[in-house]
């Protein structure tokens, strides 16, 4: 063993938007396209400033709207660039057309969704409705709990996106307001560490717009005759396979990150005080901090309560969720968005789907809170725990509980 001590990491205090900009810088991104939108705006301001200050050596394209943000990056990636942007809410809605196309063209890029509730009612505050509205488009989605996790995950995301078994775009979701503006102590990895972790960009080996390798990108495919049907199925199945491959690649990337940088985050799901738990909460994103406090308080009272945080939401880690929750009597899933079709939260739908694969299937119910910037406090989580404990006793799955309804 070497006796040389590792130097103390450089620590800064910053918010989630600045943390994302640092990650982009350390990941040596070639191209960023930007258009401002609350609560993402300071993120693109940091990027512009980092470029102006010479910290970030990237081509920055100030475009006239989010539709072009993603379209410019499509061109960049097809020419071989490592690309980044961030958006949310109405901006995400406006870029939906190229957004829809990104995974089908197997374009590895990273886009932060600084999550925001969607219109209407008019709202500029946090909530997961924007990211949830695009959950079935084929992007990988990872949700962050802390500012540090924003920084680390944004770098990690490139390793996942550009992995040859994956080749898909990644959304790193960090909660508007809570993480976008909440400042925290953050350890910056060194450039050497990130370079050791992240290989040089490899984004267009499979599909390129390059005169030295002429090819047609996205010709008409499908139809009822000739090679169309089977060719189309091959593309779709390949995309699904890439998505499933991502589960193992995400785990490996987190392992590599822990080995090189020395910081470990749960890659798919995190089990918190689940060892002998009878009931569990399931959470997503920054609400997890308050939820863990509520679990701790319940544990202090001698109650066997645990928590499962979902970090990787797409692809949904079905087996990991089923395993983590197998054995508890009841589960309460807390969403910051709604599924209009099912009158519950979308994460709840996923969890009850995954529980079909659990060895022992617990009862589960849906809680919705934190819409449009509302707080989900330890009191809210305390009440949710009580409700789930009642469910564990009587097995009666009640109506969806709206946590902020009487605030």
């Amino acid at each position: 063993m070497s006796a040389v001590l590792k130097p103390k990491p450089k620590a800064i205090v910053c918010d989630g938007n600045e943390a994302a900009a640092w990650a982009v810088t350390l990941a040596r991104v070639d191209m960023v396209a930007v258009y401002p939108i609350t609560p993402q705006s300071s993120l693109v301001e940091y990027l512009a400033k980092f470029v102006a200050d010479g910290k970030l050596n990237a081509e920055i394209v100030d475009v006239e709207g989010e539709h072009s943000v993603l379209s410019v990056l499509h061109g960049g990636v097809l020419a071989g660039a490592r690309a980044y942007t961030g958006t949310c809410g109405p901006g995400l809605a406006f870029m939906f057309e190229p957004y829809l196309r990104t995974p089908g063209l197997r374009m590895p890029m990273v886009m932060s969704i600084v999550t925001r509730d969607t219109l209407t009612p008019q709202s500029v505050w946090g909530g997961h409705q924007d990211a949830m509205s695009v959950r079935e488009v084929g992007w990988i989605q990872m949700y962050c709990e802390t500012v540090q996790e924003v920084l680390d995950t944004t770098i990690l995301a490139y390793k996942v996106a550009e992995h040859r078994d994956v080749m898909l775009p990644v959304n790193v979701c960090h909660d508007g307001n809570y993480l976008s503006y909440g400042a925290a102590r953050v350890e910056l990895p060194t450039q050497e560490e990130v370079d050791a972790f992240l290989p040089p960009p490899s984004t267009n080996w499979h599909a390129a717009l390059d005169p030295s390798r002429p090819m047609a990108i996205d010709p008409l495919t499908g139809g009822a005759g000739g090679p169309g049907p089977s060719l189309f199925v091959r593309y779709r199945k390949g995309q699904c396979a890439g998505m499933q491959n991502a589960l193992a690649v995400i785990e490996q990337a987190h392992e590599d990150w822990a080995r090189i940088v020395g910081r470990r985050h749960a890659p798919l799901v995190e089990s918190y005080r689940m060892d002998d738990a009878e009931v569990a909460l399931v959470t997503l994103g920054s609400m997890t901090g308050a939820a863990k406090d509520a679990v701790d308080e319940a544990r202090d009272r001698g109650q066997r309560v645990g928590l499962v945080k979902v970090k990787t939401y797409r692809p949904f880690p079905v087996q990991a969720v089923a395993k983590a929750l197998s054995g508890v009597k009841a589960v309460g899933v807390v969403d910051r968005s709604v599924s209009f079709g099912w009158n519950c939260g979308p994460l709840y739908q996923d969890v009850i789907g995954a529980l079909q694969f659990a060895a022992q299937r617990p009862a589960a119910m849906s809680f919705i809170g934190g819409l449009a910037g509302a707080d989900i406090t330890t009191d809210h989580f305390g009440r949710a725990i009580e409700r789930v404990q009642a469910l564990a006793k009587d097995g009666q799955v009640g109506e969806t509980v709206w946590l902020n309804e009487k605030d």
């Binding site: 396209a33 410019v72 061109g75 002429p214 495919t221």
Partner: protein, 450 residues
């Protein structure tokens, strides 16, 4: 009307050496005295002008001759002078606006160019390339020597000019190119391809209908960052350029992205089934502006896309027509050069045999009539020189002659024709005003310099 071979003059290559005149005088009069030359190069300020017979299609000299001494040869297009019939009245010289037929004292009668039977002495004497003998074929052959970057057998409609535009423009632009062909006729012909087959030899892609200029921005910026010279070119229809794709086009033009954006204007969504676009002219039948008891075609005028692009102060903006290929090539060369400095926009009118309802063999003729009637004006713009007409039509064809050639206008009422006539006149006045600097505020805005 047939096309004939002709002697062409490029003043920018002329230094006034007189070699052509000496050669002509020697060949035709046996003397080196340039007074006897039938080609005259005349100084015009810093430049030169050509005084010589143009072998006109509608020759005034022939019309003026009371003795039938002048006639146009249908075979080679040359206007021939017959000394046995000439009465030396000199009325022919009055008719000619080009100084192409003049009285020669030594000969004692009028003389004019006869193209030396297809091997003109003047052209052979010109070492600077100011004079060339253009054969009807070599206008195309010059481009034909360059590689056709599309495969044979693109599936365009019969008589489609867009295929001609695609092949000829890409030949000129060359293989170091990334080509965007947004949804429409151009990919519809198979340029991007279908189920694994492609029709293009350069990197080609389907952008979305909405984001052509933005995707090209990304491509171009990354190659620039890598220090690679790659042309970023769009061949887009008018719908994708002027309607749903206008935002990204405007954004890229405003940012001065180094892109060549070619809008192939067939005045509607022809590939999708001939629906109206904002480039569809007033009165036109389309499948979404049908003609019936209460409908009489489109009720609004077309959006003037090239003028809108000019107001973005692009590095180069021009209009072109397939009926005037040399003009088109000239503009294409300028646009390619401009796209290495900033945004270049070329708007090419491409009549649609299917959607405009006219016989497929008349496509070039329809395109020509559009220009001759001032329905389409040929001009170019750059921020330093402003707008310049490249084909100034003085005695315009009647608008009826253009409109009645097309099935899509066959229903027009007198009022509708009058509206179109008035719109054309207004447009001509406005564009000519720009060309003559009669709109100082506009000229200033255009230049982007306060």
């Amino acid at each position: 009307m047939s096309a004939y071979n002709t002697i062409a003059f490029k003043p920018e290559h002329c230094d006034g050496c007189n070699a052509c005149m000496t050669a002509c005088a020697t060949a035709k009069a046996g003397s080196a005295d340039i007074i006897n030359s039938r080609i005259q190069i005349v100084a015009d300020g810093d430049s030169f002008e050509l005084a010589m017979c143009r072998q006109c299609g509608d020759p005034k000299c022939v019309a003026n001759c009371p003795a039938a001494a002048l006639s146009k040869d249908d075979a080679d297009g040359v206007i021939e002078w017959d000394g046995s019939k000439c009465v030396n009245c000199l009325l022919c010289t009055v008719g000619c606006a080009f100084g192409g037929i003049v009285y020669n004292a030594a000969a004692g009668h009028v003389v004019k160019c006869d193209s030396c039977g297809g091997d003109p002495a003047c052209v052979k004497a010109c070492e600077r390339g100011a004079l060339t003998y253009l054969t009807t074929a070599n206008i195309y052959n010059e481009v034909g020597d360059l590689e056709d970057l599309f495969v044979p057998g693109l599936a365009g409609c019969q008589g489609c000019n867009t295929e001609l535009i695609m092949r000829h423009t890409m030949r000129r632009i060359g293989p170091d190119t990334v080509l965007a062909t947004p949804p429409g006729c151009i990919p519809g012909m198979g340029s991007v391809g279908y189920n694994g087959l492609t029709g293009t030899k350069v990197p080609v892609f389907h952008p979305l209908l909405t984001n052509t200029a933005s995707m090209l921005t990304g491509v171009k910026r990354h190659y620039k960052r890598q220090g690679r010279e790659v042309n970023a070119v769009a061949l887009a229809g008018d719908g994708g350029a002027s309607d749903v794709g206008f935002q990204s086009l405007s954004g890229a033009a405003e940012r001065g992205e180094q892109i060549l954006f070619i809008c192939v204007d067939n005045e509607g969504y022809m590939n999708t089934g001939m629906q109206r676009s904002s480039c569809t002219p007033f009165g036109a039948w389309t499948s979404t502006t049908p003609v019936g008891e209460r409908g009489a075609g489109k009720t609004q005028d077309a959006k003037n896309m090239p003028l809108l692009m000019m107001m973005h102060n692009c590095e180069y903006v021009a209009t072109a027509s397939t009926a005037f290929m040399e003009d088109l090539y000239d503009k294409l060369d300028k646009a390619i050069a401009a796209s290495k400095r900033g945004f270049a926009y070329l708007h090419i009118y491409s009549p649609c045999t299917t959607g405009w309802r006219f016989p497929s063999q008349e496509n070039i003729e329809v395109a020509r009539k559009a220009v001759e009637a001032n329905f389409v004006m040929l001009w170019e713009f750059n921020p330093r020189d402003g707008l310049k007409l490249t084909r100034d039509v003085d005695n315009a064809l009647s608008i009826d002659e253009y409109l009645m050639a097309l099935g899509k206008y066959r229903h027009l009422s007198g009022d509708q024709v009058a509206h179109i006539q008035a719109t054309v006149e207004k447009n001509v006045g406005f564009i000519k005003g720009l060309a003559e600097g009669r709109h100082p505020a506009m000229a200033q805005a255009m230049s982007g310099r306060a």
